[in-house]
Symmetry: C2
DNA sequence: CCATATAACATGTATATACATATTATTATG
DNA sequence: CATAATAATATGTATATACATGTTATATGG
């Protein structure tokens, strides 16, 4: 019983149902929307708060190390920090002897902003955890952690 | 034993470790990077292939329905289809009597592109599934599905 | 039927993201 | 030590994403 000769639409249906790229992005969009709305009073986007939190947790941190932590391109970090620098939430400085390297820290305004935003973050986090249930969250976080460690290819 | 009076950095460390927004986005970035690289020969981004697959699975589909399926803003869909329309991978048409509504379909070139891209997609999908392991994938997909159904707030 | 509210889609603006490439500084090599 | 290779960051360009707002068409109330 040959199952081949499938229509393009059937192939698409089967692929989209299991596509980890589609579903991870769709889930991330839905979650981000909840956080963005909760954070609106702070004037921060969810992505910006994440960046501030990582800097706060790891400061002083080099641009490149931040890119690694975020699993993002360093050119993305270069630009992502701009609105935060413009609002004086981050300090950028040459700490090392290597003059190519720039390090980031929370400014005092950045710390104040984090203190203000974290309660809003907690509201969103609690809301999502409650809606998903602890069991699902306990399954989701390790899966996402594992995904974020995906290598460039199959290291056979 | 008062645990309060925590430094901003400590708060940030604790929050970022469990933040569902941060981790969902970071995981989605990592996964998207794998798919984008596998799809490079097709000239499609992973997001564009997802859109083509959803249209292929549900055609003809209205812009608004597509936005709902993608858990994205309809203004995002308005723009996301532009590069695909420019490459003639999608047809857009007024099907219904309501002249506001536009419906999308795969064009014949869109079908050819899907047939060409799905094997590349399968390579990426298989790579990610193999690296994560079936158990993790079976945990991840339902979690992401649940996340994508997050409501606007707590519907108590 | 007309005025108004609402719905569907598009556009303005801002940020997020990545690849190709440029710039500058450091390291390695002959 | 001078030059070539490499590393860290920035910029050009394109797409992804969302909110505020605009446009046009349909629906609704009087």
């Amino acid at each position: 019983m040959e199952a081949s000769e499938q229509s393009t639409s059937d192939l698409a249906k089967q692929a989209i149902q299991v596509c980890l790229c589609f579903h991870s992005r769709k889930g991330a969009r839905a979650i981000t929307q909840v956080f963005d709305r909760a954070l609106a009073p702070s004037g921060l986007k969810a992505t910006q708060l994440s960046l501030l939190m990582v800097v706060g947790a790891r400061q002083p941190i080099k641009i490149g190390a931040l890119a690694d932590d975020l699993v993002t391109d360093s050119t993305t970090v270069s630009r992502a920090i701009k609105p935060l620098l413009a609002r004086n939430l981050l300090d950028i400085e040459q700490l090392s002897g290597d003059r190519r390297i720039k390090s980031l820290r929370l400014s005092s305004e950045g710390r104040r902003m984090l203190d203000l935003a974290i309660p809003l973050w907690q509201t969103a986090q609690t809301q999502v955890v409650r809606q998903l249930g602890n069991t699902m969250v306990q399954a989701l976080l390790p899966g996402l952690e594992a995904a974020s460690r995906l290598g460039p290819a199959n290291p056979d």
